[in-house]
């Protein structure tokens, strides 16, 4: 599903040049659950941004389902993103001014799904995430675990093929964290590909494969089954 080779990303300021990704190469197959680990500053987040088409690489190739997307313009990227990729962030990134229901509805709005269908699909997802009873609450009124469940609901409501999770349990206590990890595992078992950046060895054990990074390169790959 994902095939990156020789991927490069360099951040430049007036005085310093920081190589975030240094000729990174790896594949992710459809249905895989991959954890990316490594110390701060090793390029994990940069990798995730590029995989999520939020940022473009400075060099190398990025094939998404066989299509070269490394040099897509913003418009094409937005289009590909909203159809295929769901995001889960450490800080949830829910929109404070929207209710739970409206937050989850948002991707469907950008996909152009009609009102009644939207309602039905959002309700199904909220039900699955067990936060239906909170549908009319605002994010600030929820606990961290609940907020992350809403964020996961939002990530999956458009049935993406790929979910990118950036330290999804980083802001949660262990029981809430486990719940979220279980959600991701369930999604993976239903066929969704998941790439997760994490610091937590515990969380990484939910995945099939761990990619360890250092200084913009992969160091080791552990296959867990």
């Amino acid at each position: 599903m994902i095939k990156i080779s020789e991927l490069q990303k360099v951040y430049r300021t007036e005085e310093v040049e920081t190589i975030a990704l240094n000729k990174l190469t790896f594949d992710v197959k459809e249905g895989e659950f991959v954890a990316v680990m490594g110390p701060s500053g090793c390029g994990k987040s940069t990798l995730l941004n590029i995989l999520g088409l939020l940022d473009d690489p400075d060099g190398g190739s990025f094939l998404f389902n066989g299509t070269e997307v490394a040099h897509f313009n913003e418009r094409k990227r937005a289009d590909l993103r909203k159809r295929n990729i769901g995001f889960v962030f450490q800080s949830f990134n829910l929109i404070d001014e929207l209710t739970v229901f409206e937050n989850v509805e948002l991707p469907l709005i950008y996909l152009g799904v009609k009102g009644p269908e939207r309602k039905q699909r959002v309700e199904v997802v909220l039900d699955k995430m067990q936060i239906m009873h909170r549908r009319n609450h605002y994010p600030q009124q929820l606990s961290g675990g609940q907020q992350q469940r809403v964020a996961v609901a939002r990530a999956v409501v458009n049935n993406p093929k790929l979910i990118l999770a950036d330290e999804p349990t980083g802001n949660l206590d262990s029981s809430n964290g486990n719940e979220v990890m279980q959600l991701l595992t369930d999604l993976n078992e239903q066929g969704t590909t998941i790439i997760m950046v994490t610091h937590s060895e515990h969380d990484s054990r939910y995945s099939h494969r761990i990619i360890r990074m250092l200084d913009g390169q992969t160091v080791t790959e552990n296959i867990l089954v």
Binding site: N49, G52, L54, D55, E74, R75, A78, D79, R81, K82, R83, F87, F89, N93, L94, I95, D96, E97, L98, E102, E105, L106, P107, I109, Y110, L111, R154
Partner: protein
């Protein structure tokens, strides 16, 4: 999608009430002010635009080069127009236009006083004053026909049919019957020509004696040219006409030592396009500078611009807090134009709300505005496509630029950065600072202009005029009683009242009285081979005494001399112009008589301070009518004296229309234009300062929000409240100071030009600029203080927690 945008927009606006309020209030005030100001400006610009033939209509005037002055006169002699029409075939229509004071109409023993204008039959064909009843081709065909406006018709006849009925009009002393031939629509407010009734010019009181007299100028002349006529060829024809009919005057001027114009002419006929009449100082004394409506539009644009800048700065500043939302929307697949339209939509929402509020504001303030600025507005303006177009354009510009620019910047943010809440746009200080400087340049400009206009106005009001204006009452005599008789009666009745010091009469008021009229009169004669022009004032005994005018040579008029109808008293300027060593020896030939100078008075400002004091000659001639009575009262109880005089005047002239006023009120009224200008400047300055400060306040709130952590660290490291405050305040105060520095030379240059309008004016002092700087800095400092001190006083721990 739209619903989602609207929802989030409203919630967002609600959540950030301070910003929303600042934005909406600032913009609403700006829209309201802009509406009122442009309403006024368009009203002024719409003057005389309603005439169908406006492009070919002109008023004529004569430019006469005299030895010391160039005179522009719009008054013409009676035979002029008929001759002109015969000689110049390019003139399709021409009409004399005589206003000889208000006339009294009588119908069934009821008397009405209206402004009747004496015109030629062409008048209704030339100008677009539509008739409701009657035919414009025949309405003025007979000498005894009269055209009434709707308002006059209603007040005289009520609902009765008026056409064919006879009203009487007092011309000279006799009542003369007129038959109503037509009813015209009321003259619009934006018309320079105003009349309540029209009659044929031949009814002019002095017509029989003056119809062939080329030396008596007493009415205006309007012509309509055929559309094919070019300005140049018409000018040539006027030149030929002048050579034929004004040859003698030109020759006299030449021998008296006058300098001709560039083309060698001493007398030239020139014309003013009808549409310029309102702005032309030759055509009307009330004429306003064409600069004035544009100034209003400029101030309106200033205010709108300043409010828009607030909008841009606040929206950009808030991008900081909204970065995450924007980023998340992009992550979820929003395209750039979707983000753009969302934010622009929010801006539009604010703009629409502000516009509504602004319209409401303008509507509520309109009556007060009209009285404050002494401004009449015609409701027709609201339907004018130009006005509506400009309002729509102004609104579109504000919502597009002020709303669009921040939306454009926000939508262009880098997705992966914004989603983490990290953005750089809020640090784009250069644009924000430049915009703020421009805001304060405009505010500074208005502060300086306001100060200078106010100083000049104050100077005009307090400068010594050479006569007593505080203790002298001016009574407009009006048409109901003979002037001389009124004066004699007043003299005898007031003699017994202790506080009355002196009574006199004259034909020309000082300044502008409650009857609102002002006039001047001048004569030209030959003296020792020179043409001499002098202002001419009919006075009565005790004129100098009543007004405390200082006599410097000879004597005042006196009842002790029987020959004083042949005596004149002149001012110093006139004495200098005559050029005699002893002015008391001067003997001036006029008509058939000779006038002997008996006294010279010190120059006094018998006209406004716009003009230099001119030569003046005062006479007592019983056959020339008096129009005003001056009464000098003791300084002790001015209101009481006014009351006493009023009572006596009511018994003498019960029908008197115009109120009595003190001369200082009259002279103040001469500067209505300046007073209005200063009120506009003050209001403009207040508004721009208010809106700029609202913006400054909100920016400081934002900056403080962004710098909370920095301030916390500084405090941990030992910074004091004072040093933190100065750190924050300095940045803004430097900007404000820079703005005043930029504004000063511009304002100085502009106001210097404006002051050239006055023969007597103040000199701009450096203190004005220092004062403006101090005001701007103080206001800014005050605005900044609130928020800056609030942050500076926080515990450092609280500051640090903010990230």
């Amino acid at each position: 999608m739209l619903k989602n945008y609207l929802k989030i927009a409203i919630r967002n606006l609600w959540k950030h009430k301070t910003f929303t309020l600042t934005n909406i209030l600032g913009l609403a005030v700006a829209f309201g002010a802009t509406l009122l100001l442009s309403l006024t400006a368009f009203h002024e610009l719409s003057y005389d635009q309603f005439h169908t033939h406006k492009t070919s209509l002109q008023q004529l005037y004569r430019e006469v080069h005299r030895p010391n002055t160039i005179e522009n006169a719009t008054a013409f002699p009676m035979p002029f127009t008929p001759a002109l029409k015969t000689e110049i075939p390019d003139i399709v229509h021409a009409s004399r236009y005589g206003e000889f004071g208000s006339n009294i109409l009588r119908y069934k023993d009821h008397e009405f006083q209206y402004n009747t204008v004496y015109v030629d039959p062409d008048f209704l064909d030339m100008f677009s004053f539509p008739l409701i009843e009657g035919d414009k081709k025949t309405a003025l065909n007979t000498l005894a026909g009269i055209v009434l406006t709707e308002k006059v018709k209603n007040s005289i006849f009520g609902k009765e049919e008026a056409i064919g009925r006879t009203v009487e009009m007092k011309t000279d002393t006799a009542w003369k019957p007129f038959v109503v031939t037509a009813i015209a629509k009321d003259v619009p407010e934006n018309s320079s020509l105003e009349f309540a009734a029209l009659i044929r010019f031949e009814n002019t009181p002095a017509y029989q004696g003056a119809k062939d007299d080329w030396d008596r100028n007493d009415h205006d002349v309007f012509v309509e040219l055929s559309p094919q006529t070019s300005a140049a060829s018409f000018g040539q024809k006027l030149k030929a006409f002048t050579h034929k009919y004004y040859a003698k005057q030109a020759k006299d001027l030449k021998t008296s030592g006058a300098a001709p114009d560039k083309e060698g002419e001493f007398v030239s006929l020139r014309s003013i396009p009808l549409t310029d009449l309102h702005f032309n100082s030759i055509a009307s004394s009330a004429g306003i500078n064409k600069f004035y409506p544009y100034l209003l539009l400029l101030i309106a644009a200033f205010i709108l611009f300043i409010a828009s800048v607030n909008f841009v700065n606040l929206s950009l500043g808030r991008a900081f807090t909204r970065a995450r939302e924007i980023g998340m929307r992009k992550v979820l697949g929003a395209r750039r134009q979707q983000i753009l339209s969302q934010f622009w939509g929010e801006a539009l929402l604010i703009c629409v709300a502000s516009l509504m509020l602004g319209i409401l504001l303008a509507y509520t303030l309109l009556p007060g505005y009209k009285t404050l600025f002494n401004q009449s507005l015609s409701p027709g303006i609201l339907r004018s496509p130009w006005f509506l177009g400009s309002i729509v354009l102004g609104f579109a510009a504000v919502s597009l630029l002020a709303g669009g620019y921040p939306a454009w910047v926000l939508s262009a943010l880098n997705t992966s950065q914004t989603v983490k809440g990290k953005i750089t746009v809020a640090k784009n200080y250069r644009l924000r600072n430049s915009l703020m400087v421009i805001q304060f340049v405009l505010s500074g400009l208005l502060i300086i202009c306001t100060t200078i206009v106010w100083q000049q106005l104050n100077y005009l009001r307090t400068a010594p005029l050479g006569y007593n204006k505080q203790q002298v009452l001016s009574i407009p005599i009006g048409a109901h009683i003979d002037g001389q008789r009124a004066l004699d009666l007043m003299r005898s009745r007031l003699a017994s009242i202790p506080n009355i010091l002196s009574v006199t009469g004259t034909d020309i008021n000082m300044g502008r009285g409650r009857d609102n009229s002002s006039s001047s009169s001048a004569i030209t004669f030959e003296y020792k081979g020179k043409q001499i022009q002098s202002n001419w004032l009919r006075v009565d005994y005790d004129y100098a005494k009543t007004l405390d005018i200082q006599l410097i040579k000879g004597r005042d008029f006196s009842r002790d001399y029987s020959m004083d109808s042949a005596a004149i008293v002149i001012n110093e300027k006139m004495a200098a112009l005559l050029g005699d060593k002893d002015p008391l020896k001067a003997n001036i030939p006029l008509d058939a008589s000779h006038l002997q100078v008996v006294g010279v008075v010190k120059d006094f400002h018998f006209k406004s301070l716009h003009r230099e004091i001119a030569p003046l000659t005062m006479v007592i001639r019983r056959e020339w009518p008096l129009a005003y009575i001056f009464v000098k009262v003791a300084p002790t109880d001015l209101p009481g004296s006014l009351n006493a005089v009023q009572k006596v005047w009511k018994t003498i002239n019960p029908k008197a229309e115009s109120e009595i006023s003190f001369l200082d009120e009259n002279t103040d009224k001469q500067y209505r234009k300046e007073a209005r200008l200063s009120r506009i400047f003050i209001s403009g300055a207040l508004l721009t300062i208010l809106i700029s400060c609202m913006g400054l306040f909100a920016i400081v709130v934002l900056v403080m929000g962004q710098r909370t952590k920095e301030i916390g660290i500084r405090k941990v490291l030992g910074a004091s409240v004072a040093s933190i405050f100065s750190l924050v305040a300095r940045e803004f105060l430097v900007l404000v100071g820079l703005a005043v520095l930029i504004a000063s030379p511009i304002a100085g240059w502009l106001m210097n030009k404006w002051l050239q309008d006055f023969a007597y004016h103040i000199h701009i002092s450096i203190w004005v600029f220092l004062f403006a700087a101090a005001v701007a800095l103080l206001i800014a400092l005050f605005t900044i203080s609130f928020q800056a001190l609030k942050t500076a006083w926080l515990n450092p721990v609280d500051n640090l927690k903010s990230e």
